[in-house]
Amino acid sequence: MSLWLQPGAQAQWRRHYRHLRDRRGATPPTAVLLTLAWAVAWCFLPLESGRWQSLLSSHSGGFTHLQRRRPGIADPLRYGLQFLWLLLVRPRRSHAARASRRERFKPLARARGFLYPRANKVAQRVERHLRPALSTFEGDNPDGSAATRNTRWLLILMGGTTAILMLLVITQPFTLPAQALFSVLLWIIALIVRRLPGRFSTLILVVLSLTVSCRYLWWRYTSTLNWDDGLDMTFGLLLLGAETYSWLVLILGYFQTLWPLNRKPVSLPEDTREWPSVDLMIPTYNESLEVVRPTVLAALGLDWPKDKINIYLLDDGKRAAFRDFAADVGVGYITRDDNNHAKAGNLNHALTVTQGDYIAIFDCDHVPQRSFLQMTMGWFLKDPKLGLIQTPHHFFSPDPFERNLDRFRRMPNEGTLFYGLVQDGNDLWDAAFFCGSCAVLKRRAIEAIGGFAVETVTEDAHTSLRLHRKGFTSAYLRIPQAAGLATESVSAHIGQRIRWARGMVQIFRLDNPLFGPGLRLSQRLCYVNAMLHFLAGVPRLIFLTAPLAFLLLHAYIIYAPAVLLLAFVIPHMLHSGLTNSHIQGRYRHSFWSEVYDTVLAWYIALPTTVALINPRKGKFNVTAKGGLVDRQYFDWSISRPYLLLILLNLSGVVAAIWRLQSGPADEIPTVLVSLVWVFYNLVILGGAIAVAAEARQVRRNHRVSITLPGAVQLPGGYAYPCTLQDYAEGGLGIVLPAAGLVNVGDTLTLLLQRGQQEHAFAARVVNASGERAGLELEKMPLAKHVDYIQCTFARADTWSLWRDDLPADRPMKSMIDVVCLGFEGYRRLFQHAPRVVRAPVSWLGSFIPQRPHEAS
């Protein structure tokens, strides 16, 4: 070798080889081959020149991703491909540069800048004219005053007129251009109206959406069914059934949420001796004492006269530790001989051994704020017919969606829609129902209906249905007054929803709210909608597979030209999306319902169908809480049905490509529409899959993050202010004003303020890094412990503060979010796939050239 090589070059070869072997971990044959390849390249290219060097440099060059991976035999090919790619593409720009480009040319943005102010001006002018008329509607006084009654009559009158006109509009057949023009006009009206403030605009949007959707459904029923072909007919009817279901839920949903009541609490009498007595019941079955303890201690701190409140721990688990704990803290402890009828039975038994006028019920993991009773009880004294007042279930730990998708407190969670809007809407119709916890019921009312309902697995909704039938009213107070643990895993979440779904369908069969005595029409509709909601499983599965009927089986499920279908279905989707975003935007972001529903669809489809057929089957299953997902994993068993659906949809894509290539030309629009539908399904299924990748949970005690001022006193007598960042039952995290103030193992006194009072707690530093420190509380006497809960979990303002900082709904952004989520799902699926699948795919993937970032 030394014969025909310069000694310098020889040394370079050796250096390159050693670098590959030692630094990058290449095997000897690979290193030899690559060194040779490098040498060949070197012969033809001036690799030592400055420009090549900068291109190859590992910081900003275009080959960074290749230089990071372990060298392989095929590397020359990779470098070659990447080189060609670099010749073709421009480097990716930094964020700032991209933003400035966007400023420069964007006809869309400019058009928007032109149109929006004008639309706003129109909206403002309309509003100015309507304002005097509007203001008469918009007082929301919940009592049955003359004004409200007039408003209601006016509403009914208006509704009647619109209904007649709408009937005309809905049934009028249009040609394609006419339908398109009609849709565009309505859409423009909607876009202008939605900028009007207040409820009137919501009303108009609802009417527009109803018009368009009813028209769509009418058209579907009258002119899209092929009665001649059995296959077409079967699939077509299935799809039409599912669409009818969605339409019904849409309409009932509008009805339910049109006018949220937003009830305010009523003050109690001056003299506390007139306040009623309350039994606070905490049913428990198998939850750990750590979960129950904060609830009981918080109950002890409720601001209610001590002689008028009794706290009972209803232990169906009959555990000695619980009995001792109850005795220690001085609360009642109730057990029974059997465990019949689970929670409802437990409560019914407790009713027989207690005497309070009212019964407050808390699930054992729902920690009440000290203001709970004062905020709720006023209504009972004001309205003697009131049987129930319900407050939201608020969760301080992330639910599985929030945790696995990393969305905790970044957008409204799954429950926000129900507790923020639906219950408040129900309340207007006097149909707010009992949710099992964080509620107060009147004993006399419960006794009048013969105790808590035991026939179904959702005793809560059934109990309130019976209360309503007996003529009692219900109330909903939207201010969170308690907070608890969310279910900790997707499977537990699904289990809980299966129970709810089964229970609601059981009620639907056994005590159908549409029939039977004592209910007003509005109440019937609200209850029916709540139950229908849980029947969403089968229709959702139909939507997820419907396009396959055409792509795979060539069944014309919608017997109409694709363009005409688009002219009908797009307005339907746009209007319902816009209207729902307008009504629900603060409580649920657009498109997320699809993800939530899809995750549940498969699992509730069967139990609800079974319960529809045989409502007496099925038993109560307890929702597991307070557990710990201690490692990251992919819940394969949960996601199996979705993998199947994904495979089906993928085969639909293949079939679509085949049909595009070899099918008749006149089918191409239909194929394309189906393909879009399949892709939409794939995105939503991707989102559902993403949820199944369980993120790891770090601590057993769920830490609640918060920003609260506090202070610490250190052993030497020094004291510093600090900010409380998170807290749990046994420990807290704080931020000190400077680093190095505390060391691990130090004992200190933590000062927390609640109200005008300051409490000192002994604590030990368990970890410290920079300005942050983690504290563990020392053992403390009962009174101190109650104080601690009062300073943290039971603070009256904590949960009401939480709702403020959520971003508003932006439908387009939300759609992009969901699409990204879909892709994320496939990425996670791939990450957790078995090696056999993953290795060849990632090897193939390594050849894909990557777009470099522009050097900053």
Binding site: P265, L268, D303, Q369, G755, Q757, A796, S800, L801
Partner: protein
């Protein structure tokens, strides 16, 4: 001047946070009319009166917070 103003408002906000949690709840929920009874505080005052004879004696000779 601006810096000074922001200093004021920053510290004021901090002071507000030290305030009663109930008042912040009522403010957030737009319930300025609501008559909340700080029973815990009243209970405490009663306990203080029985715990420290001097305090009770002095206070009773003036106004009556233990009432």
């Amino acid at each position: 001047m601006d810096a000074e103003k922001s200093f004021n408002s920053a510290v004021q906000n901090k002071l507000k946070k030290y305030d009663e949690d109930i008042s912040s709840l009522l403010e957030n929920s737009d319930l300025t009319e609501f008559d909340y009874r700080n029973l815990a505080q009243l209970d405490r005052l009663k306990a203080i009166g029985t715990r420290w004879p001097l305090l009770a004696e002095l206070t009773l000779s003036q106004r009556e917070p233990f009432a």
